[in-house]
Every structure is written in C-alpha cells, then in structure tokens.
C-alpha cells in the first residue's frame, strides 16, 4: 500500500512535464498561441522567443524527469531498511550548475542585443507619421496635415482608429495625457509604455493590409480593459485618400446629409 502511494506521487510529478509539453503542443491548434505577425521585424522577436522557449523547455523537462526518477527509484517504501547516504554537498557540482546558467544568460543577453536595438534604438530618420496620445480610456491620434508638421492648424484628429500605409516605415510619437499606459500592438510585436510628460518614438513596418487590435498593456484605471483601438494598414494611395476624406470631414462647414451614414462608417 505504501509503495503504491509513493508511485502515485512520483507519477503526479511526472504528469507536470508531460502536461506542460502537451499544452505547448496543442496551443497553436486551439488558437492560444502567438497572434499572426504582420510586421517586418516581428520574426526576429518570434525567433528569439522560440529559441528561449526551446532552451528553457529542455531544462524544464530534464529537471522534472529527474525529480520523477528520484521519487520513483528512492521511494522509502521500496527500500525498506536501507539507510540514506549522508553527504555535505559537492563543490564541483555547484560550480558547474552556477557557471552553465550564468553563461547561458550572458549569451542570451548578447545574442538579443541586435533585435532590441532594431526595435528600440535605431529610429528611422523621419518626421512622425502620427502622434498617438493615450488617455483614460482611449487613443487620441493626430496626423500632421498637408504641411507635414504636427501642431499646426491643418492637423487631422482621429480617435481609436489608426490608419497607416503598408510596407512603409512608420514613426509614431507616443504620449500620455494622464497616467501610464502601454501602447501594445500584438500583431506587430510592439509594446511601449506611454509616460506622461514624455514623447516616445515607436517605429515599425506593416507587411499586410487589414485591421488588428491596439490594446493598453499597462493597468491604467478601471476602464483599462476596454481601452481598445484598431490599427488598419492600407496601401499608400488608399491611405492618402483616407487622410483627404477625414480632413474634409474635419473641415466641414455644412452638415453632412444624414443618409450618407458618414458619421458612423469609417
């Protein structure tokens, strides 16, 4: 009976790596894996993620299997009368298991530097395409108008509905009006805190036309969960036409006939 209890617990611990690996194997097919990547730089981030996942995965499975094996093999019930050996530790072993992880972490730190620099340091030399101002609980957007300058009377103001040209470098100037927010574009592998009082540059290049989510990734208040926007990539001619149309709407001096539904449609 006691032996059975020991085996049961050993198997419970074995279930951890088995279920762990199974979760990762099944996740992509039930759509709880990484969202589709529509950015030029995203594959770099993703391959880093996969590399680290594989590395930690191997270590995880190895440790868990060893844990199971020791529980199974050295179960007291199966080794009646045997006395455990008393040891005071192994200096060599400790040096080895300190140096290997340290070297691995150092390697990762150096290995990812290029990807980090591409996303956070090597800003394209261009004026902002759009200014994104985070506010409890919405994204207020401002496009430089025809003069290409922000902060002039012809700026175009939009809320929540970010349109950008596809296959072009885009520079976003990120600000916050009130508290900390985080500008998160899951499909572009972009996440950047918006900090009150700072203008933070964010850049990326979309590779597919279509619409994806903008979400806030920093708990910013009670309405955080619904601080959602939409990013839409369109071709350059479509983007220019959209800017024209929205600017004309913003310059309206006469009411728009209600039937056109222009107020609701975007």
């Amino acid at each position: 009976m006691k032996r059975l209890t020991g085996m049961f617990w050993a198997l419970v611990f074995l279930a951890v790596p088995v279920l762990g690996v199974a979760t990762f194997a099944v996740a992509p097919s039930i759509n709880v894996w990484l969202p589709s990547d529509v950015s030029a730089h995203g594959h770099e981030i993703d391959s880093l993620f996969y590399f680290i996942l594989a590395l930690t995965g191997v270590v995880f499975v190895a440790t868990e299997v060893m844990l199971f094996w020791f529980m199974w093999k050295y179960d007291a019930a199966a080794r009646q009368g045997e006395k455990a050996t008393y040891i005071q530790g192994s200096h060599t072993l400790e040096v080895v298991w300190t140096i290997i992880p340290a070297a691995t972490l150092l390697f990762l730190a150096i290995y990812q530097m290029n990807a980090w620099a591409n996303v956070k340091m090597r800003r394209p030399d261009m004026p902002p395409t759009v200014e994104v101002v985070a506010r409890q609980f919405e994204w207020r957007l401002r496009y430089p108008g025809r003069d290409g300058l922000l902060g002039t009377p012809d700026d175009l103001h939009i809320v929540n509905d970010l349109h950008l040209p596809v296959d072009e470098d885009v520079l976003v100037q990120l600000k916050s009006m009130d508290v900390l927010h985080s500008f998160f574009l899951p499909n572009l592998r972009i996440k950047q805190d918006a900090v009150p009082g700072m203008k933070i540059p964010v850049w990326f290049k979309g590779t597919e036309t279509g619409s994806w989510d903008i979400v806030c990734a920093e708990l910013c208040g009670w309405g955080h969960y619904k601080m959602k926007g939409r990013i839409t990539f369109v071709t350059r001619p479509e983007f220019d036409a959209w800017l024209e149309r929205k600017t004309a709407e913003q310059d309206a001096t006469q009411p728009v006939p209600e039937a056109s539904g222009e107020i609701v449609a975007n």
């Binding site: 101002v133 300058l149 700026d155 509905d161 001096t253």
Partner: protein, 426 residues
C-alpha cells in the same frame, strides 16, 4: 477524528463558495429622483407649500413609472414614446449573448458604471470624474445641431458616442458597430424620456391643490396624453429644429475674418471675454454652475438659510430629509469653468460647423449663452475663425509667454517640430 475533520473542511470550502458566489442577485431597479422629490418648483415657494413628496406619493410615482416604462431588465416602450423596442431590448438588461450570438445589455457593458442604471449620472465611478457624467433625466444635452432648447437629433447623439467628449471622461465608442451605437442611443433617449416623465409627475404632485392632495388622475389619457406625449413629441420633432448654417463665404480672407472675429469676441454684443477672458484662457467669470449642479446648489443655499434662521417643524423635517438625499443621491456641486480656448480641445467636436453650433445656440444646461439674435449669422463665422486660430496664435496676446515654449526640444529622443508646442495637450 482528525481525518473526518479534514474531510469536513474540504467539503465546506466548495459549499461556502456556492452559497456566497451563486446567491441570486436582486433584479436591477430604477432609483427614484430624490432631489426632484424634495424640491418643489420655484414658483410655489410659499411657507405652506409642500416641501417634499410624502412616502406614499413617492411610491405612487414609482408605480406609475414602472407601469409606463418597465424595469431596467424589462423595459416597456409605449408606442407614444416613439422609441424602437427592438433597439431597447438590445441595449437593456444584463450583459449576455442572445440566440444568434449578438451581444445584449450594451448599456450595462459600456455606460452604466458612470451614467448609472437610471441614467442619473450616479454610477459607481461618477464621483471620481470631473466633469461629472451626464444625468439624462432632465433631458438636457449639450452637443447637438439643434436650437438651444431643442432635443438633440439621433445623429447628434451618435456623433457624441463616436467621437467621445474630448476633455471630459467620456471616451470614444468609434469601434462599436453602427447597430450597437444605434441601440445605445435609443436607450439613452428612453432613460431621458423616463426621467423627464418622472420630473413632470413629481412637479404635478407639488402643484396639486390641498383638496386633491395625494390624488392623481391615474388614467391613461392623463398620463400618456398630458405628461408623456409633450415630452416624447419634443424628441420626435428634434430633426425639424436644426440650426440653419449660412455658407462660409468661399472667398473669405482668413486673416481679415480672424481680426473681425477677435473684435466681436471682445465686443459688447457677443461679450465672449466675460467668461473666456481677454486672453481666451477661460479665466473670466469662473464661479458659475451648470443646470445640473445649480439644482443642488439652490437647495444647499436653502438648507443653509434654514439652519441660520428659525425653521418650523415641517421645514426642519425637510432639511433632515434633504441632508440624506445629498448624501446618497447627489454629488458635491462643482463649478463649471469656461473653456480655455487655447488648448484646442473641443468637447462638442472640432469641425468649424460644431463651433458654429456652439456659438449660435450656446450650450444648453451650461452658462454659455446663445449668440443667435445678438450676432449676425455671417459674423458668427468670423468668431469661429478667430476661436479656431487661438491655439496657434503665437503673436497675439500670449506671444511673449509662448516664445520660450516654442524652442525645439529633444525630449524622449524626438526632435519636436517647431510648431509642436502650439497645441500640447498634456
């Protein structure tokens, strides 16, 4: 024994969870407008006048309202209201999906935490916001394309939901589907018509003569014909009361127009400087209240007068009742600051057209008066042009102060364009 104890504990935890977590919650109900129920209309201010509705009268009002409008979960929509029951159904009730997978209970998903289940602007987050969320019950809306005292059109409310109200806590709902926005607007109208009916009923009680005190003609003809229909009629006819906007002259000389607008802004007729200040920073008269807050202020003043002077028994009872009301059914009154026109933040929309509407009709419920009648329609365009130039006016009244701020900055690694400080919004 200890094993039994352990077992009992293990069994008890889920039992407690079930009992605590799954107890049926009481159905949502509308709150009575207690401020209105304790404030007789101004005309009847004699000492003998009734100071507050009796509990019996309050129950009577509540019963009539339930019969006419139903409950938050099961709204009733009389044909006389002109509302669409299908849209109301989509917006009302708890958040859930219906049989075709459509989201229901939109009002409670998106609006209720600020505007409250009754539409009284007393949701759980209301007290933390400045300005306070709109109380729909008086049926007064600020940002619309209709004349000052008219109701907003359906499209006006859709526009507010779509753009949000910049500068207040009202966010944009631009990404909801047009059908969902439509349903929410319909529900806001429903709460508004319900609230206005409630106020009309209460004022009717206050105006009853002594002999028929406590008696109300509970006939359909009276309730629908005399109370509901005039209210619903105003909503139905809103689209006929659009503000007529003259064309802005196509060959207008912008600089000349701005100069003319500036003159009018500072002039005696429009007298915008009185509140917005000569600098347009909104630093003129700033101690006024909007209508929603004014109601509470009036009553607070009355309370203060009562506690200073000698009140009779009836008045003392009223005063203590009202203190209770102020605790739970009203927020601490706040003044409404005139807009700082140099921020470039426009609550009712930034189109020249929106600003024309605001100047022409004023802002209903707020101290902003209508220029209609005192300023010629063409001249309003000049004021619009002047107001729109203010956030970018470096050489005007504020030129000296702004010159420093207009230096290029490199904060956060971005070289700011020269003009950026013009409309810094944070």
């Amino acid at each position: 024994m200890s094993n039994h104890l352990r077992l009992a504990c293990v069994a008890l935890v889920p039992a407690l969870l079930v009992a605590g977590g799954c107890a049926p919650t009481p159905p949502a109900s509308f709150r009575l407008n207690m401020v209105e129920a304790t404030s007789p209309s101004a005309e009847k201010d004699s000492v003998s006048a009734q100071l507050a509705l009796t509990p019996v009268q309050q129950r009577q009002v509540a019963t009539i309202l339930t019969a006419m409008f139903g409950t938050p979960d099961e709204p009733v929509c009389l044909p006389e209201t002109g509302l669409d029951p299908a849209k109301l159904k989509l917006a009302a009730g708890p958040v859930r999906s219906d049989i075709v997978g459509r989201k229901n209970g939109l009002y409670r998903e998106h609006c209720v935490h600020c505007h409250g289940i009754t539409g009284d602007g007393l949701g759980p987050t209301a007290a933390f916001l400045n300005p306070y969320p709109r109380d729909y019950r008086p049926g007064v809306f600020k940002f619309k394309s209709t004349e000052r005292s008219s109701k907003p059109t359906h499209a006006d409310l859709v526009r507010v939901l779509h753009n949000g109200v910049a500068g207040s806590s009202m966010p944009s709902f631009a990404l909801l589907s047009p059908g969902e926005v439509d349903a929410i607007v319909e529900y806001v109208k429903y709460l508004s018509i319900r609230g206005e009916t409630e106020i009309a009923l209460m004022q009717y009680f206050f105006e009853l003569d002594d002999e028929d005190k406590g008696q109300l003609k509970e006939t359909r003809e009276f309730l629908v014909g005399e109370i509901l229909e005039p209210i619903a009629g105003k909503w139905a006819s809103a689209a006929e009361e659009l503000i007529e906007v003259p064309e802005m002259p196509a060959d207008i000389d912008l600089a000349a127009s701005i100069a003319k607008g500036r003159e009018l802004f500072h002039g005696d007729k429009a007298n915008c400087v009185k509140c917005h200040g000569v600098t347009a920073l909104g630093d003129g008269q700033a101690n006024d209240y909007d209508d929603w807050n004014k109601n509470i202020v009036k009553i607070e003043t009355k309370l203060a007068a009562l506690s200073a002077g000698d009140a009779d028994a009836e008045e003392r009872r009223w005063a203590s009742e009202f203190h209770e009301v102020l605790d739970g059914d009203a927020l601490k009154p706040r003044t409404i600051p005139p807009r700082n026109l140099r921020h470039g933040i426009y609550r009712g929309g930034r189109r020249p057209l929106d600003i024309y509407y605001r100047i022409h009709a004023g802002i209903n419920g707020a101290p902003m008066p209508a220029a209609k009648g005192t300023v010629a329609p063409e001249d309003i365009w000049h004021i619009v042009n002047y107001v729109r130039s203010l956030p970018y006016d470096f050489d005007g009244e504020l030129g000296a102060d702004r010159a420093v701020a207009a230096q290029p900055s490199t904060v956060g690694g971005l070289v700011a364009s020269k003009a950026t400080p013009a409309s810094e919004e944070n």
